[in-house]
């Protein structure tokens, strides 16, 4: 916990409700220091996406609303901004499930990411080339329709597209979803690279606890809309509870599925 000026994002005790009744977040507080990668871990429905959407203000279009608490980004409070205003302020979300523009070419997708910026054609081309340095695979496929590229390539397009908005902060929602382990590793490698070279701060929502903790600096674990546990990524990797519940390792050895179920049943009866 540093002083507020060294943090790009500070969320204090937010509560989020959909349709004014369905409570998705009870009490979530978290901090993203400037230039760091912070992971937000948890199972399906824990509230990871909701947390990200309340930051990017994409919540409003899904009839969700922050009902308590505050979100401070880069020195001011996020209230009634629209997503496009947030993008102009340097906060960009990469939505869950990639969401490429399927009928646009790979390159058009990437260029669309710079929509909020006023760039000359020359500057734009230079930026696109710079992005291709991180995403070499995309350069080969620049003229293909994005809808016909592989899942891994689509995830890369989504991140590349977001980077074209020149974000100070990137919100990544489950970049590993549905991808082969090798591709996941490749994407996380690029994300880490972007973090180090471009200095972009990252809040990463993931179910893949292992790879997220290996790449993040700090992590929060949320369950049913509450922060249950937080700590440096290293400490959480070695935390017995995290190992057992999220990494599937118990007392140094890998749990098999049968044991895990027996374990959880025993816990319930206790």
């Amino acid at each position: 916990m540093g002083t507020s000026s060294s943090n790009i994002l500070e969320i204090k005790n937010i509560e989020v409700a959909y349709n004014k009744v369905i409570l998705a977040l009870h009490d979530v507080s978290l901090i993203v220091p400037k230039g760091k990668i912070v992971a937000l871990l948890g199972a399906n429905g824990a509230g990871k996406s909701t947390t990200l959407k309340s930051i990017s203000t994409m919540l409003a279009s899904e009839r969700g609303e922050v009902t308590k608490g505050s979100i401070n980004y880069d020195g001011f409070e996020i209230k009634k901004q629209t997503p496009s205003e947030m993008v102009k302020l340097g906060m960009v979300q990469v939505l869950e499930g990639r969401r490429c523009f399927g009928h646009l070419t790979v390159e058009e997708n990437i260029i669309a990411g710079a929509y909020s910026r006023k760039l000359s054609r020359g500057d734009l081309n230079a930026e696109v080339e710079k992005i291709y340095n991180y995403f070499k695979r995309l350069k080969e496929r620049r003229k293909s329709q994005a809808g016909f590229t592989s899942g891994g390539e689509q995830q890369m397009i989504a991140v590349a597209r977001a980077m074209m908005a020149k974000p100070k902060m990137l919100l990544l929602d489950e970049p590993s979803m549905g991808l082969a382990p090798q591709l996941v590793a490749e994407i996380f490698h690029i994300v880490k690279d972007l973090n180090e070279k471009e200095g972009v701060s990252i809040l990463l929502a993931e179910q893949n606890t292992n790879i997220a903790l290996r790449n993040a600096d700090y992590a929060y674990i949320i369950e049913t809309g509450n922060v249950m546990l937080e700590g440096s990524a290293k400490s959480l990797l070695n935390n017995e509870k995290v190992k057992e519940l999220y990494l599937g390792i118990s007392k140094g050895k890998r749990l098999n599925f049968k044991d895990a179920i027996r374990d959880s049943q025993r816990k319930k009866t206790n």
Partner: protein, 301 residues
């Protein structure tokens, strides 16, 4: 022999040119479909509303150009109100919901237009006659209506402009992005509000131009709304999301209905003009549902 070939060409060219009128109406549908992925049932009403207002302004004594500009502004206002009162509250709702809303919007526009301007059929003179151009009739022995030819040229200009807009401008890229995935477009900072506003205003202006062409031929009247529904087979044939598709679809519908009417019509005691385009569109739905130029539906499996 040459006589009958010449006659065939005359029928064909006449059909093609009247087809451009369908294309003009279809263009308005395509614009909205590209940005909202919705069939805008109100487009016919917009055509009616626009041209009726235009004629109304002229009756107030406005000169042609002033009335035209005034109507363009009126259609932009309609676009703004539609965005604010209909589309924005329905954001992130299913496409079907928006579709239903456009049906409602259509009734509102029809009602407003008639409440303000009355229900009688108006004449609209563009200073272009709906009769054969003498020079072409004399030299090529083809009878081609001046109005048809003008409509064709106007349609051509609109297509070129809109295609350039979609393909080569930033706002065009934004439009196509929103059409693919509005949520993702908004996540990277494309302001949906502006895009919707632009598209609906553009569709309004296209509706005005289409209405003027049709109004000059058939009179400014309520039946224009039904005429606009001819755009449906045009869109099925051309593809809902394609500007060139709207044009080719319109030409095809125009040509097919005229040629069939003249050559096959007599066996059915005439009147097949009214349903031939729909038959053709059923064939397309069966064998090429995305239309000639429509975007193929991309689905990962």
């Amino acid at each position: 022999m040459t006589e009958s070939i010449l006659f065939f060409f005359e029928v064909l060219v006449g059909g093609l040119l009247s087809g451009t009128m369908y294309s003009l109406v279809a263009l308005g549908f395509v614009l909205i479909y590209k940005a909202s992925a919705t069939f805008n049932f109100a487009q016919g009403a917009m055509v009616f509303f626009a041209v009726l207002s235009f004629v109304g302004f002229m009756e107030y004594g406005m000169p042609f150009a002033v009335a035209f500009v005034a109507t363009v502004f009126l259609m932009i206002l309609v676009g703004m109100l539609t965005e604010r009162l209909v589309l924005r509250p329905l954001m992130n709702q299913s496409e079907d919901t928006v579709l239903m809303a456009t049906i409602g919007l259509g009734f509102v526009l029809e009602g407003l237009a008639q409440a303000k301007w009355g229900v009688e059929v108006r004449k609209l003179s563009l200073g272009i006659g709906d009769f054969p151009i003498p020079w072409i009739a004399d030299n090529l022995k083809l009878f081609i209506s001046a109005l048809d030819l003008t409509a064709g040229l106007v349609a051509l200009v609109m297509i070129v402009l809109l295609t350039l807009l979609f393909k080569f401008t930033k706002i065009g890229l934004g439009l196509r992005a929103v059409a693919d995935d509005a949520g993702a477009a908004s996540s990277i900072g494309i302001p949906l509000k502006h895009i919707m506003l632009l598209v609906w205003s553009a569709a309004g202006v296209v509706a005005l131009v289409a209405g003027m062409m049709w109004g000059a031929r058939a009179g400014v009247q309520f039946a224009l709304i039904e005429l606009a529904l001819k755009a449906l087979p045009v869109l099925i044939i051309g593809g809902f999301s394609s500007i060139p598709g709207a044009i080719v679809g319109g030409l095809l519908v125009g040509a097919v209905e005229k040629v069939l009417e003249v050559y096959i019509g007599p066996y059915f005691k005439g009147g097949i003009e009214a349903w031939a385009p729909y038959m053709l569109s059923i064939l397309f739905l069966l064998y090429r549902p995305e239309g000639l130029f429509g975007e193929k539906i991309i689905r990962r499996v």
